[in-house]
Symmetry: C2
Subunit: 73 residues, 2 copies
DNA sequence: AGTGGTGTTATCATTTATGATAACCTCATT
DNA sequence: AATGAGGTTATCATAAATGATAACACCACT
């Protein structure tokens, strides 16, 4: 699997998880202490996030970190 | 949980998984196409890895990516 | 038409991960 | 003592993630 595809899948997964909690991008970004634009970029799969960024998101969504990277490979 | 602790846990997890497969750092690094020094740095918890780096490691170890970030939080 | 909420995209500066190399340590073996 | 395997640490350049801001689009509602 290519890096671009991985980023897309991670982004899509974050979006799905966020929406399932009914939170807006701005809200989630605020909880994570970063800008909504950055979250939009991540969800669009246009970045290769660090584990700390994904961890912040997992904490904000109250889910285990492994859930975010749980993609079919 | 702090970022430093997270890095430590991820590094330790990679080390455990690598050793359970009986592979050396140099070997794993070679498969992943990066230098052994970089893997040492990662296992020591002195870097905040990107998801692509962890993905390469998971592929080399033939385990799901989620296994690497499956830490108790 | 205006307002507010949501999301996108571009851009820039700054921080940091990564790639790469070299020097060093420990330990086992010859 | 010498060699080699495994691992560590420091350093440097380069690539890229992040922080931050601004401008824009879309939609619902008044």
């Amino acid at each position: 699997m290519e890096i671009g595809q991985l980023q897309q899948k991670i982004g899509a997964r974050v979006r799905t998880l966020r929406e399932s909690k009914g939170i807006s991008q701005q809200n989630l970004a605020a909880i994570c202490n970063f800008e909504k634009a950055n979250l939009s970029r991540l969800e669009a799969g246009r970045t290769n996030p660090t584990v700390s960024t994904l961890y912040k998101i997992s904490q904000a969504l109250e889910i285990p970190l492994s859930d975010i990277v749980d993609i079919d490979d």
